[in-house]
């Protein structure tokens, strides 16, 4: 499987995503012959044949205005939007999630954490659905442990949107203990077409026991299954 990792000038988890996909996933024993990851520069429009585009964490363009507010105007995002419209897999993590809500690929918005402080720590979360290319390999009820690291991760939307998301089974992840005040404990949501995921926790930072958890690999493995089924 081929991952494309978008690099905005202020992306700082681009390497983490690249390493998780091409090394920790890519070198797993028993997979179908290795997975690759390639960087996609924000001023380019070529997705280089990616099966899944990752919008990594960081501060895209500094985020002094509003997280992700400038990123939505970048050339690469025009290409990503077309890719998503055609059913392509788009995976936004942390700042990537913020960008996806800013450019309208996902509903809702991420506001300042309850308590107003940046929070970095391991959290526990559960997949709220198995019916998605990002969660199909996660056994129901499994608690996953992975870090969060954000100042603006409080998922917020109006009641009707939240009801719709629930009715359409589009909540991908929920926190077991809500760290940031997100409405209805939401940690990640899916697009209507289920091919776009945004989540605040960092699965790419939890892909080997050496750094504390390998639970994030389940998300990557789900993508591999979805991709091989589609082919």
């Amino acid at each position: 499987m081929r991952f494309g990792v978008v690099v905005f000038p202020g992306s700082n988890c681009d390497h983490d995503a690249w390493y998780a996909a091409s090394r920790n996933l890519g070198h797993e024993v028993g997979n179908d012959g290795g997975h690759e990851a390639e960087y996609l520069w924000h001023q380019d429009t070529d997705l280089k044949g990616s099966d899944c585009v990752i919008l990594p964490g960081g501060f895209s363009y500094g985020d002094y205005l509003r997280c992700g507010a400038i990123a939505k105007f970048s050339p690469i995002m025009a290409a990503v939007k077309r890719f998503a419209a055609d059913g392509g897999l788009v995976f936004g993590i942390c700042n990537g999630f913020q960008i996806l809500t800013e450019c309208g690929l996902l509903p809702g918005v991420l506001v300042r954490n309850r308590g107003l402080r940046f929070i970095c720590k391991d959290v526990r979360l559960k997949a709220a659905t198995r019916n998605s290319p990002f969660t199909n390999e996660i056994p129901p009820g499994t608690e996953l442990r992975m870090p969060i690291a954000h100042g603006e991760g409080c998922y917020t939307a109006d009641e009707r949107t939240l009801d719709e998301l629930e009715a359409d089974d589009r909540i991908a992840f929920r926190y077991v203990e809500n760290p940031n005040g997100s409405m209805r404990d939401i940690a990640g949501v899916l697009s209507a077409g289920r091919n776009v995921l945004g989540m605040m926790p960092h699965p790419e930072r939890a892909t080997e026991p050496l750094v504390g958890s390998a639970d994030g690999l389940l998300v990557f493995r789900s993508l591999v299954s979805a991709c091989s089924t589609a082919k």
């Binding site: 000038p9 202020g10 700082n12 988890c13 501060f59 985020d63 402080r117 970095c120 720590k121 690291a149």
Partner: protein, 741 residues
């Protein structure tokens, strides 16, 4: 003040002697711009004029040392063709005046020192000192400073994308008017990718890159070289404003530009800005640099040459390209959306020549300016001390309550309120993060990880600067041993008061000599650091506060951690209970938190014995025999035992057999002791015996309580959940407590 009068010279904090030296170097009177340039380069902050003579005593050589003091950062070879660059730097004065920006730009400055050498920063740690949060007079202000400093560090490091993996934080009245913010950073690169801050090759273009120059931070270096007075707060405009996003772009662009092969030398503009980078690069290269200020990108209009040369605007670098290849460099910076302008050339007459629209506004020999600053052998007597040598009579009313007092104290309580604000997992290299004895980051490209320990203890250094400093070095090395690492090098930040006072100068001299002796002994040469003097407010000096950052290497793998992991394991006290007497209790946390007094001397240390303890622990950890390993330091044995229970909620039952009186047995802070829990007692004992180190089994893990007995008498019994609750909530409640203004 365009004329250089004696008043103007004095306002620049230059003495009449120093002024005469300037006249001798130039062969004429300086103009105002030149005077300003000399004043920052010859400030204490930039020239180390009071400390240089003594810094020469530090050991700086070793088989792994690629680059010692004098460059932007020290470099050590870690094998397999890889190197690390690391250094610590203070931003004390700015952080007091404007906590958020002061601390943020402290992080920015040290990160630039690392990537200017070609290394990508992979870890940051901070040593913080504040006045007490419940101080009746200054508590509210101290609370604001803590919040601001932590937020500033978080803001800069998190956005830049470097993990803040550890550090320490201490509260003392002596830091009420003078907090300390010392930031350590470490980067990694290949041995053949090192760049130095030197200008070589006559005619090579000099390129200014990064943020535009503004009026911020003018004379920051001089401000950092003076005592605080009531007027200091008016110096807020001297504090720079940081832009971590700009810094991130600058780092990526610099590393990419270096990879083209078109860069010959590079240096960041930190303290003393454009002045420092132009004269130091010339001096190191045996050349000079000629620039025209009209070409320098400027944020404001109407800036004078004086202001441009002395600005400390952040996120700027000066680099020298190979002539003919400048376009390659300019293209990289354009890609990252940064200003990059050729502002001058390298010359061969050794002069730093500054023009403004062609007209010469300053002309100074680089080497004399950079390296011929006055050197002072300041008089020193005996270290300042106002506390008694003799111990007061003391007896504990309740040893259990004492332990809970320690748990609730600012120094020993849980600091996760601080480090949860730092991104410590970015870059996915953090194997051991904040809150442990030592932090560990792995190098992905090799099988080696880097362990780091940052430590200071102003109290013990006040009681005896020489011995206190030795204890610090030993503790850092012991922390590294607890994660299986071998020390390879040291960076130091020497925070002291006014060196013009002989009793303060004596503190500095003795501390340096103590560090020198211990670093030599542990084979951990000093590769650089920072000296921060004049840490006094209204004549009140801080405790002598050397902070040491010692780094070590260890094979990549999971370390044991400090917490008991399973019930029924043997707890071994490697090194034994140690020796103590009342006089050597005076600098302990027990004396501070329980008795609220200070007296006496630090504990003694036997360096060869300490080394044997560390060797034994390192071997035990690396053989995988320890389920937990934690050194006994502040708070003593009882506190170290308690800390082992917090993470997993597994308690311990301890049976000691010592003739020491309980207060001493439980709370003395003698060195050379490590607590290990193990399922392999026989092997642990055998290793300790081979190293000639006592290793009594003092109890077993298990239950949900911590019980400590001595000779059959129960001294302390406490439930893990009770003490953990106190420990984990203390800092946040103190930060929000009402204080009496």
């Amino acid at each position: 003040m365009n004329e250089v009068t004696p008043e103007v010279v004095q306002a620049h904090q230059l003495t009449p002697d120093e002024y005469q030296r300037i006249v001798a170097i130039l062969g004429r009177e300086p103009n105002l711009t030149e005077l300003g340039i000399f004043s920052v380069m010859w400030s204490e902050h930039c020239s180390y004029k009071s400390s240089r003579l003594h810094l020469k005593k530090l050991p700086t050589k070793g088989p792994r040392v690629v680059c010692g003091p004098g460059e932007n950062a020290g470099i050590l070879d870690i094998g397999d063709g890889w190197c690390i660059a690391f250094k610590i730097e203070s931003h004390n004065h700015p952080s007091f005046i404007e906590p958020f920006q002061g601390a943020a730009t402290g992080v920015g400055g040290i990160l630039r020192d690392i990537f200017t050498m070609g290394a990508r920063p992979i870890a940051v740690m901070d040593a913080l000192r504040f006045g007490p949060l419940d101080d009746p007079r200054n508590g509210a202000r101290n609370q604001r400073i803590v919040s601001g400093v932590v937020e500033g560090i978080a803001h800069y490091g998190n956005c830049f994308g470097v993990p803040t993996v550890g550090g320490e934080c201490v509260f003392e009245p002596s830091y009420n008017g003078n907090p300390l913010v010392n930031v350590f950073a470490l980067g990694v690169f290949k041995r053949d990718q090192i760049f130095y801050g030197q200008a070589t090759g006559t005619g090579n273009p000099v390129i200014y890159v990064g943020a535009k120059t503004g009026r911020d931070g003018i004379h920051g270096a001089s401000m950092a070289s003076a005592e605080f007075t009531e007027e200091s707060k008016q110096k807020r405009p001297n504090v720079q404003v940081g832009d971590p996003f700009m810094e991130k772009l600058l780092m990526e662009a610099c590393i990419e530009a270096m990879a083209t092969g078109a860069v010959s030398g590079i240096q960041d503009m930190g303290a003393a800005g454009l002045t420092c980078s132009t004269c130091e690069m010339g001096s190191r290269g045996g050349t000079g640099i000629e620039i025209d200020l009209a070409l320098v990108p400027q944020r404001e209009t109407g800036m004078t040459p004086y202001e441009i040369m002395l600005s400390e605007s952040q996120e700027r670098m000066l680099l020298v390209a190979h002539a003919g290849r400048e376009q390659e460099v300019l293209d990289v910076f354009k890609k990252w959306g940064l200003d990059a302008v050729i502002v001058g050339r390298v010359n061969d007459d050794g002069k730093m020549r500054v023009r403004n629209h062609g007209e010469i506004v300053a002309e100074i020999p680089s080497r004399e300016l950079a390296d011929e600053a006055p050197l002072y052998n300041r008089p020193y007597t005996t270290p300042l001390r106002t506390v008694p040598l003799e111990a007061p009579a003391f007896q504990s009313k309740n040893l259990r309550a004492d332990l809970l007092t320690l748990a609730a104290s600012g120094d020993l309580c849980d600091k996760s309120w601080i480090w949860h604000q730092y991104d410590y997992t970015v870059r996915t290299n953090t194997i051991a993060g904040p809150g442990l004895d030592a932090a560990i980051v792995r190098i992905k490209e090799t099988g080696t990880s880097i362990a780091m320990s940052l430590d200071g203890n102003g109290r013990q250094c006040y009681l005896d600067p020489r011995l206190g400093a030795k204890l610090l070095v030993a503790e850092c090395c012991r922390n590294l041993a607890c994660v299986g690492a071998t020390p390879i090098g040291t960076t130091n930040n020497l925070n002291f008061g006014n060196p013009e006072r002989p009793e303060i100068m004596a503190q500095l001299v003795e501390a340096i000599e103590g560090i020198a002796e211990a670093c030599e002994f542990f084979d951990a040469p000093i590769t650089g650091g920072n000296v921060s003097l004049y840490n006094e407010t209204l004549g009140d000096p801080i405790f002598p506060s050397p902070v040491l950052g010692i780094v070590g290497t260890v094979k990549t793998g999971l370390p044991p951690g400090i917490s008991y992991r399973a019930a029924g394991r043997d707890i071994v006290l490697i090194g034994g209970v140690g020796e103590a007497d009342e006089v050597r209790m005076g600098g302990t946390q027990y004396a501070k938190q329980v008795l609220q007094q200070m007296w006496g001397l630090p504990p003694l240390i036997d360096l060869p014995f300490e080394k044997r303890v560390q060797d034994a622990v390192r071997e035990i950890v690396n053989e995988g025999l320890a389920e937990s390993a934690h050194d006994v330091s502040q708070g003593g044995l009882a506190w170290a035992l308690a800390e082992g229970t917090f993470q997993n909620g597994i308690g311990a039952s301890i049976q000691l057999d010592s003739a020491l009186r309980p207060e001493l047995l439980l709370y003395h802070e003698g060195p050379s002791r490590v607590i290990v829990s193990t399922a392999n007692l026989a092997q642990v004992t055998a290793i300790c015996a081979r190293h000639g180190v006592p290793a009594p089994v003092i109890g077993q893990t298990g239950s949900a309580r911590l019980t400590i007995e001595n000779s059959g008498e129960t001294l302390i019994q406490v439930s893990v959940s009770e003490i953990r609750q106190i420990w984990s909530t203390a800092l946040e409640s103190a930060l929000h407590a009402e204080t009496h203004a």
